[in-house]
């Protein structure tokens, strides 16, 4: 009742407020529409595919993504990433020559001319690295820029010619997917199919010669022919991508999707699939953004879309991403810390001949040479992992059966390894500790059993301390489990 009374003065104002809110909303709607209309319309136009030029562009983008992704995967695993860069620049004089063939933008002539120029560039690179002392990177860079210079000169001469339809020649530099026509799409699809079937037919040969050349030679795979054939396909793929992406950024479309796939998978066929998917996504994304903005070049947007996908994979890839690697490293460091703490506890208990149940936190801090605070944190960490329990005032630490087993395993690994180094590898006894300190966290149960057998079930380490046996570790859990008994799972030094 009371608050209704409070609101009374506003009763007369309600219509006004409503009106104001209504107009405000209306105004907002209109402003929102003003912004949205073009973007939303563009989006709808994009989604409905009613624009024939857009349909061609999208088809081109999809073919390009698949083709570049596939070829790029082989480039990246062969460590030839920058070869694509060189070929894509070196085709420029071929593009100009193909144009000169019959003075118009004939896709077939340009395709042939450009492929020949790209191949010539690669032949020159291999001749240069074989017959001179120039390194491969120098040769690649030189051919890249030298051929490009020739191409620029030829383009300049063509610009001067009065005849011929020169329009669209400059599209080769940055790419304009909207300029793709039916004829170009046909050629792209044809080359894409050829590349796809070649890779399918020669998958095994390509795979083997990419990863292990000498093995490939030994099973009589014609490695050189495979290499040349692949380069020919690559040149074709680059040339047909030129019109959509442009000379400069084709290499990005080869490398980035493949590198993304490299982060996502370890198997070649999965990598190929991922690379194609990333390539298609980048291609379609690039066309979408350049379509929204209108008159923007397609190539850079494709590359930026691909780069975003790459960055995502770089951070969040399940096994090779930075987050996963960071997490792995962190958990490994934590485990090593825990194991070292357990070992220190064990050493203290051993010094007291296992007469006491646990150790004091102060003793642990003293033996590790740490501050009390750090040691308390380590102890809490052990408690959280279920390896030890702390007393009420956090003064003493008791190992759980699990903790005792882990501690014994680590000590056993350490001492067996020391023994192995002195006995089998002839190290001096005072040189073995640091090495064992590293390896104790890595040795697996199988290796340790093997060491034990090889060392004839020795029971003392080089410094005279007993090595816990597998029976000790197995029994320590049981004996510890029953309360009131002393810690007798370990053969007490008599």
């Amino acid at each position: 009742m009371n608050h209704r009374g409070l609101l009374k003065p506003f009763n007369n104002l309600w219509p006004l407020v409503l009106f104001w809110i209504g107009t405000w909303q209306a105004r907002a709607d209109r402003i929102g529409e003003m912004v949205d209309i073009s973007l939303k319309d563009q989006f709808i136009r994009f989604a409905s595919l009613e624009d024939p030029a857009l349909r061609f562009a999208l088809a081109g983008g999809v073919i390009l993504g698949i083709l570049c992704g596939m070829m790029g995967t082989f480039l990246v695993v062969r460590k030839l990433s920058l070869v694509g860069d060189t070929i894509s620049h070196a085709v420029l004089p071929g593009v100009a020559a193909g144009f000169l063939w019959n003075m118009e933008k004939d896709p077939l002539a340009i395709l042939i001319g450009a492929t020949l120029a790209g191949l010539m560039g690669m032949v020159l690179v291999s001749q240069l690295t074989r017959h001179t002392r120039l390194k491969e990177d120098t040769a690649l860079g030189m051919i890249l820029a030298g051929f490009f210079g020739v191409g620029i000169c030829l383009m300049g001469m063509i610009q001067r010619l009065p005849t011929g339809n020169k329009s669209g020649m400059d599209k080769f530099l940055f790419g304009q997917a909207a300029a793709l026509g039916w004829q170009e799409i046909q050629i792209m699809a044809l080359v894409g199919l050829i590349a796809l079937s070649m890779i399918y037919l020669f998958y095994k040969e390509l795979l083997v010669s990419s990863f292990d050349v000498s093995f490939a030679r030994s099973i009589r795979i014609p490695v050189d022919w495979i290499h040349h054939g692949f380069m020919l396909l690559l040149a074709f793929a680059i040339v047909i991508s030129l019109e959509a992406v442009g000379v400069v950024l084709v290499s990005a479309m080869l490398i980035i999707p493949a590198a993304t796939a490299f982060l996502l998978s370890d198997r070649m066929h999965w990598m190929l699939l991922w690379a194609c998917m990333v390539g298609v996504m980048a291609g379609v994304g690039g066309i979408f953004f350049s379509f929204l903005g209108q008159k923007l070049p397609t190539g850079p947007f494709m590359v930026l879309s691909a780069a975003v996908l790459f960055a995502l994979a770089l951070f969040f890839a399940p096994r090779h991403g930075m987050l996963a690697r960071w997490w792995l490293r962190r958990s490994r460091t934590l485990r090593i810390q825990r194991e070292n703490a357990l070992k220190a506890v064990f050493h203290i208990m051993e010094k007291e001949a296992f007469t006491k149940e646990g150790v004091t936190v102060i003793a642990l801090a003293r033996s590790k040479g740490q501050t009390l605070k750090t040691t308390e944190m380590t102890c809490r960490e052990l408690e959280r992992a279920g390896l030890a329990t702390l007393s009420h005032e956090e003064k003493a630490l008791y190992l759980t059966p699990d903790g005792m087993r882990r501690a014994q395993t680590i000590v056993r690994n350490h001492r067996l390894w020391e023994r192995y180094l002195t006995d089998a590898v002839n190290y001096a006894p005072d040189h073995v500790h640091d090495d064992a300190e590293e390896i104790e966290h890595i040795l697996g149960e199988d290796t340790v059993r093997m060491l034990e057998r090889q060392l004839n079930f020795v029971d003392r380490d080089p410094h005279g301390k007993p090595i816990p046996t597998i029976q000790d570790i197995a029994s320590s859990g049981q004996t510890q489990a029953s309360k009131g008994q002393g810690m007798s799972g370990y053969r007490n030094p008599s």
Binding site: H89, A145, R160, I255
Partner: protein, 346 residues
């Protein structure tokens, strides 16, 4: 003018450009020579350190640095000469300063990103280079096309440059006396600083390029030299950028050094050879461009490539000519040497 290659005309190609003094082609030639010289000097070290493709990467990735520098300089309203009143600083100087700084930053960022991707993931170095520079270049092109009214860089110009506009650039003046077009002055300063830097740090550069281990042992900070070289490379590239573009500058970085390395194994002689290569390729390139009536920077690269192949042909250590001669003489001596032996044992 209907044929692709215009007929050779001694008068038109060689005499005419110089008949009216040096006011047009003189500046172009000087600019071309300065660019070739500076790039060639620093390129020698790139080749020795196997950083040729880092040069490729940096020449592309300075583009976003320049574009952003343009935007920032425009936003800050750096002192740009207003109408009528004489400006204390020459027109265009703030922008070129901003561009040099932006390019330097872009260069170092490129180097750092490449190292970071390479070290923190399983991506190999060549792929890391390719990813980094192409992404940055794409970013630069997008910025340029989005802010075309604010960034005065032409996207086509980015690729092949326009050295022919050099004589039309505003002249730098002392008092009322015009000296030289501003880009030529800038390139000249960069060239002198490059030569000075090489002279001062000759030993450090030499040792760290050939033997990083020894450099480390003698207390030379190889990583400082590495990043210093990268920053300076970006400054050189950005000074040459508007004249020759992002890709032809790679040729100018690599060709002189590669040709010189075919002719000599000693670093100081290589530096001298690459300077000669720079002079010849800019001179021949200029006249080729006049003959063919086409891009001057492109023609300089064509001339430089031809000179490289000439050097390969006559190279005393690696060229096919000398090798053939040597093989012939060595087979002769071998035959002569084996003759008595084969007789002895027969």
């Amino acid at each position: 003018m209907n044929t692709l290659i215009l007929p050779w005309d001694w008068h038109r190609v060689v005499i005419e450009p110089w008949s009216l003094g040096t006011s047009v082609y003189g500046w172009i030639l000087l600019m071309g020579f300065l660019i070739n010289l500076t790039c060639g000097l620093i390129g020698n070290y790139l080749i020795l350190r196997r950083m040729a493709l880092i040069g490729d990467a940096i020449s592309h990735s300075v583009l976003p640095g320049m574009a952003i520098a343009f935007l920032v300089a425009g936003a800050w309203q750096l002192p740009i000469a207003t109408e009528g009143t004489p400006s204390p600083v020459p027109e265009g100087l703030p922008h070129s300063m901003a561009m040099v700084i932006g390019a330097g930053i872009a260069g170092i960022v490129t180097g750092l990103i490449i190292e970071w991707i390479h070290q923190k993931s399983r991506i190999k170095q060549d792929a890391a280079i390719g990813i980094t520079f192409s992404t940055l270049f794409a970013l630069g092109v997008v910025i340029i096309s989005l802010y075309a009214d604010k960034v005065h860089l032409d996207a086509d110009c980015v690729l092949h440059g326009e050295i022919a506009f050099i004589p039309l650039e505003p002249f730098l003046t002392i008092g009322t006396h015009p000296i030289a077009p501003a880009p030529v002055v800038q390139m000249g300063v960069v060239a002198i600083l490059t030569a000075l830097g090489i002279g001062l740090f000759y030993k450090e550069l030499l040792v760290s390029s050939f033997d990083p281990g020894l450099a480390h042992a003698t207390g030379i900070r190889a990583d400082w030299i590495h990043y210093g070289l990268m920053i300076w490379l970006s400054v050189v590239v950005v000074s040459a950028f508007e004249s020759v573009g992002a890709i032809l500058v790679i040729a100018m970085l690599i060709l002189p050094g590669a040709s010189a390395s075919l002719l000599s194994q000693r670093l100081h002689i290589m530096l001298a050879w690459s300077s000669l290569h720079a002079l010849l390729s800019s001179l021949i390139g200029l006249h080729l461009a006049i003959w063919w009536d086409t891009s001057i920077a492109g023609s300089m690269v064509v001339a430089g490539s031809s000179l490289f192949f000439l050097c390969w042909l006559i190279s005393p250590s690696q060229g096919p000519l000398w090798r053939r001669l040597r093989r012939k003489s060595s087979t002769d001596t071998k035959a002569a040497a084996t003759q008595p032996l084969s007789k002895t044992y027969s």
